[in-house]
Symmetry: D2
Subunit: 492 residues, 4 copies
């Protein structure tokens, strides 16, 4: 089955994809090295981290001093540092390009989707800092985030107990101006990468009214200038998967904080950060989907039933072919959003149409690729049959890891509504349909085009109700069209 040659290697698969942004030679070598490390050492560590369950929080040392250290299997730290040391962050600054991040992130997610998260929140905090922050302290922290050895970890903490979507109403952390800076008081309920050295944190300026406008973004280092803890970790959360990133709750009390940019409304910075994460989420989703299909395939080519390898049975053959196509389509959509981001990541408000188009495609990609990740993880379990639900074979882990993907950084519900809103406000579906028509005129595309035009004339509530079905179809059609384009050269 020659078409599945690259299935078991994330680097090869990526490299073989047609039409996605170029991987330069030095990065490619780094990717192969990274993949080799995963095969030789990383996979066993990752399995152990997952099996170990939630890392424990060492709150106090034996002399009663609060320390808030995160207790992972010792090999975890080796695994985590691989990405940093190999340049998942610093290549961004060196090459002034986010593509190396997404390429290395793809490898990471193939082997451990949860581990992608620390890197994502590191890059998603580093980029806004680099773009907007001016103070000396802020610059120092940035330089720590992008250094080669011993790089700091970043984090993005926006979600409080009332929920993550409605930031304007659900942010109760208060920032107070002090003589020489800012202090935060409040709590964050979902803090990914809880052990980060510095986090970007949303807070409401003291005295400002509810809503988006009072929000600002702050840098919050883990350790205060005087060496003490700058905030307390209340607990680490028991998640069903993605245990390679510790997620916790944090409480701030007179916490030292550094304003990112006083001239910007914080909500812009938060959204810029979130949207980078969403691209990463889409790409990580495809990596997990590849892994799931790959695991199923490596099983099916050996497993026998009814007098033959099950991979050769007609229905399963058809299943593999269909899923390979979906994987390719999803990959094109995910990398499209990365490619668009690559062009606009340095833009500041007021944003160009290119920027909004990037947001539009990103909502679609984040939504659709996460669906694929879950779908294929479920199916891989089915190919393994009863063994699929046993802890010992590790296939079920793919589903546990996958389930964060549709949820993190906004559920399908959120992506659909936000994607729809970009489309409605900036008419960016027109640009999309122009692009799709250019690839290959199709009746499906024009039917969809009309559907959307009609839907946009509905009253707002009806539009939103209609958005669910339409956006799903649009995502699927877009992915298919992008993949079709990529296959053309191969045909000629």
């Amino acid at each position: 089955m020659s078409q599945y040659t690259h299935l078991s290697s994330p680097t090869n698969f990526l490299h073989s994809l047609k039409g996605i942004p170029h991987i330069n030679d030095s990065n490619l070598e780094a990717l192969f090295d990274y993949e080799d490390w995963w095969k030789a050492e990383g996979q066993a560590i990752s399995n152990d981290v997952d099996a170990s369950g939630t890392p424990w929080l060492k709150m106090y040392n034996k002399f009663g001093k609060r320390i808030d250290e995160i207790g992972y299997p010792p090999a975890y730290w080796n695994m985590l540092r691989q990405g940093y040391n190999r340049g998942i962050i610093w290549r961004w600054q060196e090459q002034q390009s986010l593509l190396p991040f997404f390429q290395m992130g793809y490898i990471t997610s193939f082997y451990d989707t949860g581990l992608l998260c620390p890197y994502v929140v590191s890059i998603s905090s580093a980029v806004p800092i680099a773009k907007y922050a001016i103070g000396e302290e802020q610059q120092k922290m940035l330089s720590r985030l992008v250094q080669n050895e011993g790089a700091w970890q970043g984090a993005t903490w926006f979600t409080e107990i009332k929920g993550g979507s409605d930031l304007g109403n659900n942010t109760d952390t208060i920032a107070t101006k002090t003589e020489d800076g800012w202090q935060l008081t409040g709590e964050k309920y979902f803090c990914s990468n809880i052990g980060a050295d510095v986090a970007i944190v949303s807070a409401r300026l003291e005295g400002s009214p509810a809503g988006f406008k009072g929000l600002q973004l702050f840098l919050v280092p883990r350790i205060r200038k005087d060496g003490s803890l700058n905030y307390l970790v209340r607990r680490i959360k028991n998640k069903i998967g993605t245990r390679s990133v510790p997620t916790g709750e944090v409480s701030f009390e007179n916490t030292e904080a550094f304003l990112v940019d006083e001239n910007m409304s914080g909500i812009f910075l938060i959204m810029e950060s979130l949207n980078i994460s969403r691209v990463a989420n889409a790409i990580g989703s495809i990596a997990l989907a590849q892994r799931a299909i790959s695991e199923a395939y490596s099983f099916a080519v050996e497993r026998e039933a009814f007098g033959g390898k099950i991979a050769e049975k007609p229905l399963l053959k058809w299943e593999f072919a269909k899923r390979m196509a979906e994987l390719n389509e999803g990959a094109q959509l995910a990398w499209k959003s990365a490619e668009l981001l690559e062009r606009v990541w340095q833009q500041k408000p007021p944003y160009s149409d290119d920027y909004h188009y990037y947001r539009f495609i990103t909502h679609m990609a984040k939504y659709w690729c996460a669906e694929l990740a879950v779908k294929h993880a479920k199916w891989a379990m089915e190919v393994f049959g009863g063994m699929g639900v046993l802890e010992e074979f590790g296939i079920e882990r793919l589903l546990r890891e996958a389930m964060i993907l549709p949820i993190w950084e906004g559920t399908p519900h959120r992506q659909i509504l936000d994607g729809w809103e970009v489309m409605a406000r900036y008419s960016l579906h027109e640009r999309l349909f122009d692009d799709l028509e250019a690839i290959q005129p199709s009746s499906n595309t024009s039917i969809m085009h009309n559907k959307i035009k009609n839907a946009l004339n509905l009253p707002e509530d009806e539009q939103k109700a209609a958005a669910g079905k339409i956006f799903r179809q649009l995502a699927r059609i877009t992915a298919k069209a992008l993949a079709a384009k990529m296959e053309e050269p191969a045909m000629s």
Copy 2:
């Protein structure tokens, strides 16, 4: 939202379904009582059993005697006995009807899908015994299975290490004739309800060739006549869900066994047993889907975002409406298979067309309803957002429980192929389309009819490859049509 009135109660939901087989008054009262027990006590026990992980196997007592006891939280046994004592098995014999089983099974699965399994394998072993077994020992065991208090548990152990589908080739357990009966030697790799008092076990008669023909079905009690263990439990398997049923591996060595029916080929009995389980699986899947939507709904009517309850947001409202429709459609399909079984469960080979029609619909129901269970469990997690992936809120458990449903008793791949084979051999799609047309003529139905007719003319391998997509569409259309029928009276 009046249409969701019955959503939080499995009994009310079942009772409100239009067109499904009648629940008689005494059974209805029993269902309400059973549901009340779950609310008051059962749920907390079930949560604890899940959180406790895999039950441990107490292999030896302190004096070195092998005992193979299953270590559950003590409250588990109370939970397990509720179903038996309340008649999930004995009502079948008393009323000569399987409907009470499916009704109580629905309640069970709503609260603990894993716990449905012990009851399913008990009924799936009791029915073939009642129909076919003649020996005195066999009759004694049957009477233990259907008694009121202290009923024995049954089990159905067919799967060996090489896999469960290809029974003809993958059954290496050997049955040897002895002076006064039979002895088994071999292993079973997936033994649901490992603590059962008696299991029906497939084995190959010593000396018979590979393939279906040499298979026979045996009754294997846990304890030998001399009071010792009749087989050894090798281990209990770590599953990601359904921990309310212990699944293990068993090894037989000179194990006392009682032939069910020497005049029948064993494969018929095995398939009869499996098909009863598949109906139960479909019904249990719908119960889990109802639970998932119900949990999401009870959250959404309280959770606020953007100035209102999220259940009132247009897109989420549309989601709930769509999912309620799918739930109703799936319920109609599942109960259709139960209704058909109710008419034929006493038939023996050679089977009538009614019997084959029941099989056809059952493959469809088993397949499709399990898909719905997974789909809605995933979605319930998304409605809970980040809390959906946290162990503490229990929503993620629904997905872990659900994942056994597409796998157990045959994956989608198996249901599709077997369903297709019934259709192809007995042309039972014709009867189905007649039925569907009678409900409501529709262009969808006739398009599907043609697709199938065309597909059945393809070479066999192409048929099988085509079966995947067509059978899925057929299942969906059938479920929709059945539900449409049920809504007619309400419209008039």
Copy 3:
């Protein structure tokens, strides 16, 4: 082996002890009933609670409300309520005697030493409240603690992060007077029975200097008058044993508190409470020691080696005899402290010599009996051989439970120093030696008497250094002498 007749039953053993305070008939029947419950149901629950590990803390409900509930296996609550409902607390008030508490506590500890703790801290908080508290709220809480069904649980929270012994210097919780009462701010680091409905809590009055004098004792209910949580539980601690009592950390912030007695120095009330706990600790230790020897014995009478039951081997026979004697001696010492407490528990400062004598014997009993508990638990493991260190046989649990006994309410170091201080200040060794001589004149006793007289003339630091060895010998001699007395009637 007739001397071991009562070994397997805590009630029978207690009842058979010579010379300990009378168990009245109604209490005796209650004890047998309670023991029967343990055999029939309690043991399995207790094993499961231990195997379940640390109970989890449910901090938030799904709507983001802080709830701080303690997640035990549901059967735990049944086990816990047995003691309360059967009168482990209310019999004290009804009979104006602490003996029923110690008798029921003995049964409890035999089956689950950790479960003794909730009862101990309930009685240790109820007694000082009954003796000293006058306010209306305080009286209401007391009546809740001693009611029959649904009794409140009490707790005694004195230990902060810096350690438990030096209360004067290590209490940083501050009590602030408000318009209508008191408020606490601060933390407690070791809070046994973290789920208590009301706790007695030590705090320093705002503005008072370091040291004992500024301490006061407060009643702190779990729920504020307005229905909200009165304090937060930071976490539940992972202990190696005694998992039947949840131990946690608590943080107070404007916590409603009710002063126990403004006219008393708080340190007296704290010490009264602690000393009751120490008597209970001594008695619970003996129960655990009995259990350990009993388990070893029931194994040894069945286990064979070298052609006979190991219980019949001469060296093991000697071991059992020696340990039975030690058990008896320890029991006499423990119950001596209970008997002395029974006479003085209603006394208030200034205390009588009887009171100080009770304290003296209690330090000795708390220290020595805990040593016996650990010693015999270790030995029971050895009798089981390799099975002793396996989790599945439960013998190792006895050692894990036992290890809290020398530590809780003051380590040997603390008991020795405090016991020595009572002796030195009030010359109560003279009274002890008079008592021992009265039982049976012995050269051991007079040698010890002289040793102590000499030691009391040493400089203080040398006294304390000498105290370790001497106090140990004194405890052993006292226990032996008390047991000797009891055996006299049997000899005559």
Copy 4:
């Protein structure tokens, strides 16, 4: 406190001990390197292995092939190989001395007592093979055991379900002669280092009667000549400690086995192997005791109470001094047995008096040093107070590790009886008392001498009953005397 200078370093402590066998310079350097590795990496790995609980047994791969692999955290294997690669085994052959083994074993046990076990069973199997085995296969296996990199692990499996002491009656594994060798059938219930590459296994020659005489010792490699598993692992046992050595159950079925020495009675070889382990046990016990006192000390010099460091409080100072003395005494006794073994390990039956004297001292050392390990581990927990019973501070682990020491390779009961038997048969107490008198004449010694002489005149059952108390005193006196000798030079 200058006397505690070396307390925190096992190498320094060992090196500072007076009178124990010389550590040559190259070994000393290796010890310091090894200790450095533990501080830098090993401790964190060891903590993680303990926290991970019982390693899991991967019975089957995903294709249904039995593989019986042991699932440890991946870092475990690095930790395990340190000892082998650094020469804990190969230095024995290179230097023809067991002392390097005991020295490296001391370091190992200081940091992870459980990890000592794999090395002990490797050396205890290698030595008898080297002394007795002649076949080519046997020589090949030996060379694998002593190679530098990639050394094989050994194991010693003698204990079956009926218990470990009475080998003559409790060995039901049968060895059958085949055309080209031997085959074993049966089970072993306690198999330390279950993943060993080759084990020495006791078995009864087919047809031979019960009792010692029919026993022989066999080499059993994990993998058969044809590459398949040579036996099955039934399960890995859940132990409360020593999780760094996997302990399991094994079942043999037509297992390839290689006879060690057909000219010897197997029981001699088994006892030689056991006695080497007992010396190692004594030495490992002292290392754990040192660790416990060291942990307590490092805490006490920082912890404050009552206005000073608790290490400076008179009673605790006295405690430390007393325990340091006991540690020194125990160390002298343990190393005495090592020194005696060093002289005789190459002897074969009939054994010299030196050999029996080594056995006599070894029974004493194994017994007494294990008592010290438990005693000091318990006390270290008490010094930590409440934190001593919390899992997070790791002090409790010392007790869990310690508890195997009095049990493994024979409980106190066994050591006392066997020690007594050597004494009674060969009058070796006379030689001991000569030795002790030579060190320092003492009334204690002569009283003990008389006690023993008298006891040896009692009837056998009375002797055995008396042995418990006397042997304990003898061990203590011997240890004290040996330590006294060592202190002489220091005094002059």
